[in-house]
Symmetry: C2
Amino acid sequence: MAGGDTSPTRAFDRTRHDHASETAEDYVEAIAEIIGRDGVCRGAALAKLFGVSHVTVTKTVNRLKREGLAVAEPYGPIELTAQGKRLATASRRRHEIVFSFLKSLGISDAVALTDSEGIEHHVSAETLKAFRRFVEREDRGKND
Amino acid sequence: MAGGDTSPTRAFDRTRHDHASETAEDYVEAIAEIIGRDGVCRGAALAKLFGVSHVTVTKTVNRLKREGLAVAEPYGPIELTAQGKRLATASRRRHEIVFSFLKSLGISDAVALTDSEGIEHHVSAETLKAFRRFVEREDRGKND
DNA sequence: ACAAAATCTTAGCAAAGGTTAAACTTGTGT
DNA sequence: ACACAAGTTTAACCTTTGCTAAGATTTTGT
């Protein structure tokens, strides 16, 4: 795994920036979901969902605004930009594929939910495709 | 996660601590591997492996020392404590299972390597067991 | 209308992990 | 012996993500 002496070791590129991107994805995904469910998304709802203080939410949402993913007027509800919506949709799609895949493997609902949230940020396009195909094959297998 | 018996420190912070545990696991796993390959582990080897500066390595290794996972004398090579070795073994086992699983799914070596690095920290015991069983079943299938 | 409740912002702190620059230690070659 | 290269540490700083405390705003109930 360490790759001998002079390996590029691209596997370990998960830096601070990558971690920040994961948080951004989790947030936009959650914002989209809350808006779809409640009509609007308030910071308090995110704080409750993620189990963090509302102050942390404010700061993270400020970062999303800075990065052009979200918009919100002072004391107003949080909304997504077109870019934010795109990211949210892509994240949710990936999340759903990972979740379905774990379910196909026989994992329980609760664990599949938890694990898929952790895994979704670390699956490449190739792996995601393999997951999707596996789910499709399993689904066809059931239709006997 | 990293201790159990010798962790008298604050039990509050959550997500930040989870992330720190992942880094600790990556480090002890890498240290064990480098020692196994080269006989000793120097900070420079870790810096090269993870693609970060040696200063970052020094600081992270200091944290491992503080947490009782690693030991090193000034300007000396890095070694693992019994606790560090245990964590390294468990991490490597989990890593190998995830890697084999992705390979069984038909993922290419390079991508399986990268993805397994990211995924290994997010699979529960239940999912890991399912991965292992899948690999075993696939291996048996090949022996026809 | 107005106080209370809910929500949001600002200020200030900590830990983890990242950086560069500069100083220190160790090992090697001539 | 001594200089130089390689490796390590320290200092100073940044960002992300977490916290509490305290202040500001909006909503709600009477």
